[in-house]
Symmetry: C2
Subunit: 192 residues, 2 copies
């Protein structure tokens, strides 16, 4: 998606350790007009698929998910991150290992809002090692819902997440795939 790539080139900051900071428009300050265009683009890319629910994960996936949801006229459910030890039986739960924060946390979703008959599109802002997305897939599977696919704003193509998910046959659409970054020059290389 050219508009997103342009934004990344213009406002993205390459930091040490393959970190791409896009917090001026994607995940701290949010450019909702960009999210609207992303919503339209996901609608095109998943045209023909039956989708009745979007599942995302707090916090930075929520904004994008809401705009996609409005395009598709479906509700959003967001999985909650928790470190609570005793989780009640009325939720599906999955473990996610955070690369950035170096810890494991649980994600939960209420059984009320995900289940058999649901046709679910996952939405998130970033895909790197794919741990969060794998966690969401596990929630969908546990619930008996059907996974339609996953829509990602920015995929780090040089990390393993995208490859793992595609090799499982998941319909993954990333609006911008970054194949490399140079922290010295600030250059960002996109996959064509």
């Amino acid at each position: 998606m050219q508009l997103l790539k342009d934004k990344i080139r213009k406002y993205g900051k390459v930091k040490e350790g393959n970190v791409l900071k896009v917090d001026s428009f994607l995940n701290h300050q949010m450019d909702v007009s960009l999210f609207r265009e992303m919503g339209k683009e996901f609608k095109k890319r998943f045209a023909g698929e039956e989708i009745n629910k979007i599942l995302t994960i707090e916090a930075s996936g929520i904004g994008i998910a809401c705009l996609v949801a409005e395009e598709l006229q479906v509700p959003v459910v967001f999985a909650k991150k928790t470190q609570t030890k005793n989780i009640a039986g009325d939720v599906y739960t999955s473990k996610v290992e955070s690369y950035t924060h170096g810890r494991v946390y649980d994600i939960i979703v209420s059984k009320e809002f995900l289940g058999e008959g649901d046709k679910v599109l996952l939405i998130d802002d970033f895909l790197a090692n794919g741990k969060a997305l794998e966690g969401l897939c596990a929630l969908v599977e546990a619930s008996g819902a059907e996974l339609v696919g996953a829509g990602i704003a920015i995929e780090k193509g040089f990390q393993v997440g995208g490859e793992i998910l595609r090799s499982k046959g998941i319909h993954l659409e990333s609006l911008a795939i970054v194949d490399g970054m140079d922290e010295k020059t600030g250059e960002i290389m996109f996959r064509e």
Copy 2:
């Protein structure tokens, strides 16, 4: 706002300890078409005010904030909750006491995205004791930005938050004010 009150009456669940569960449409599963109408309503209620930024707090404020932001054609910034002890100097920080979780956490916002010249509307899903909103007000004040007002989906009118904020002269607009709940009958009383 009648539509919101109707949803609360139809889908809200009154639980022990003055808890109002609205997670089927507001803060776990999210009815984005409702958020759109809320966005339009806030636009009306703050008509004539100059607003160039919306500030909310993760996670459940983000969805509503995005739809309001699209109506007002401004970006959203969401404050992040953190328990990190060492916070870098490039953020504004404030402490929030969580009534629900019985703990104190820090909220932060990058200095890059809030500052002098900003005219800020706060948006959140709930107002009860007002601690989160007071924290957001403190961030706005620390940044030198101007606080235009606060828009809330559901205010618990029998808790002190609304009164405290209004007594400070803050332009507070709540789309539904719950003045009482009966956990035995499930009845919910709204302020007229």
